[in-house]
Amino acid sequence: MHMRHDWQQAGVTTLPVMFGYLPLGAAFGILAAEIGIPAWGALLMSLIIYAGAGQFLAIALLAGGAGLTEVAVATLMLNSRHLFYGLSLLRRFQGAGWRKPYLIFALTDETYSLLTAHGGDGGLDHAQAFRISLLNHLWWVLGSMAGVLASTTLTFDSRGIEFALTALFIVLTLEQARRLRQWLPFAIALATGVTAMLLLPERHLLLGAIGAASLVLLANYRRRLSGGLA
C-alpha cells in the first residue's frame, strides 16, 4: 500500500513532463515516419536513446545520410551538457545500487530538473527518483508510439509540428536566463554561434559553436584565476 502511494506521488510529480513528452514524443514519431523510419526503429530509438533533442538530431542526420563517426561526434557534442548534470548528481546517486545505471541512463533535461527540484539531501530517496525517471521514460515512449500510429492511420496535417523543438529550446534558454541572471554565457553563445554560422558548413555548425563556447569559458576561467576578478 505504501508502494501504491509512492507511485501515485511520482505520477503527480511527473505530470508536467507528461504534458511535454507526449506531444514532443508524438512529434518525433510523426517526423520519423515521414522520413521513412519504420515503426520499430522509431520506438527503439525512444526506448534506448531516450533524448529529445538528440533524437531529432538523429533524424536530421539520418535524412542527410551522415556517416556513423559524424553521428557519434554530433551526438556527443549535443549531449555534452549531460556531463554537467552528472557532476552535480555524483553524491545524490551514491548508494543507489541496482537502480543507479538506470538513473544515469534516463537522465534527460526534464528528469534532471525534477530530481534536483525536489529538496536537498534528504529530499528524494533512490526508489522515488527511480519511479520518476521510469515514468518520464514511459511518457516519452508512449508519445512516440502515438506519433507513429497517428502518421500511419490518420491523415493529420503535421507540417510545422517540428517547431515544438525550437519552442522547447527557447523556453529552456529563458529558464536558464531567469535562473542565472548573468549575460556572460549568452553573449559567448551569440558570438560563437553567429561566427560558426558565417564560417562553418552546416554539418559542423553545432559542434564548432559549442566547442568554441567551451574554449572561451575555459579562457575566461583562467583569466579569472590569474586576474582574480569576477
Binding site: 534506448i48 536513446i49 556527443l76 554537467f84 541512463f105 525550437t166 554565457p185
Partner: protein, 115 residues
C-alpha cells in the same frame, strides 16, 4: 535506410548519448569540486541552450527534398518564436509556450504563408 544499418545507427546514437550521461560518474567522481568543473557546469548549459536556439532558427534544411522548417522566408519561424517568448514571459508555463508557438507556426505554414 533499413534493417541492419538502421540498427547500427540507433546503437551508435544510444551509446553516444549514454556515454555523455555516464562519463562523470566513472571518470570525474573525485574532481567534482574542482573550480573549473564548477565553472563549466555553471556556464556551459545556458550557452548550449542559446546555441541550440540559434541553430534551430537558422534556415534549417537537413532534408534533401523539402525542409524541416517548412517556410521559405523564415518569417513564420521568427513570429512563432516571438510568440513563444511573449507567452513564456507572460505566463511562465513551458507547456503553454511550446504549444502556443507551435500552433501558431503550424497555422502560418499550413495556411500558405510560405509561398
Amino acid at each position: 535506410m533499413i534493417g541492419a544499418s538502421l540498427l547500427g545507427f540507433i546503437a551508435v546514437c544510444a551509446a553516444a548519448t549514454f556515454a555523455t550521461r555516464v562519463l562523470p560518474f566513472v571518470a570525474l567522481a573525485r574532481q567534482a569540486d574542482h573550480p573549473l568543473i564548477l565553472h563549466l557546469g555553471r556556464y556551459l548549459p545556458p550557452a548550449v541552450m542559446m546555441i541550440l536556439v540559434l541553430y534551430a532558427l537558422r534556415d534549417f534544411r537537413p532534408l534533401s527534398d523539402g525542409r524541416l522548417n517548412v517556410a521559405a522566408d523564415g518569417w513564420p519561424m521568427m513570429l512563432a518564436s516571438l510568440a513563444v517568448v511573449v507567452l513564456h514571459l507572460w505566463r511562465r508555463n513551458a507547456l503553454l509556450s511550446i504549444i502556443g508557438g507551435t500552433g501558431a507556426y503550424m497555422a502560418m505554414v499550413q495556411l500558405g504563408w510560405a509561398a
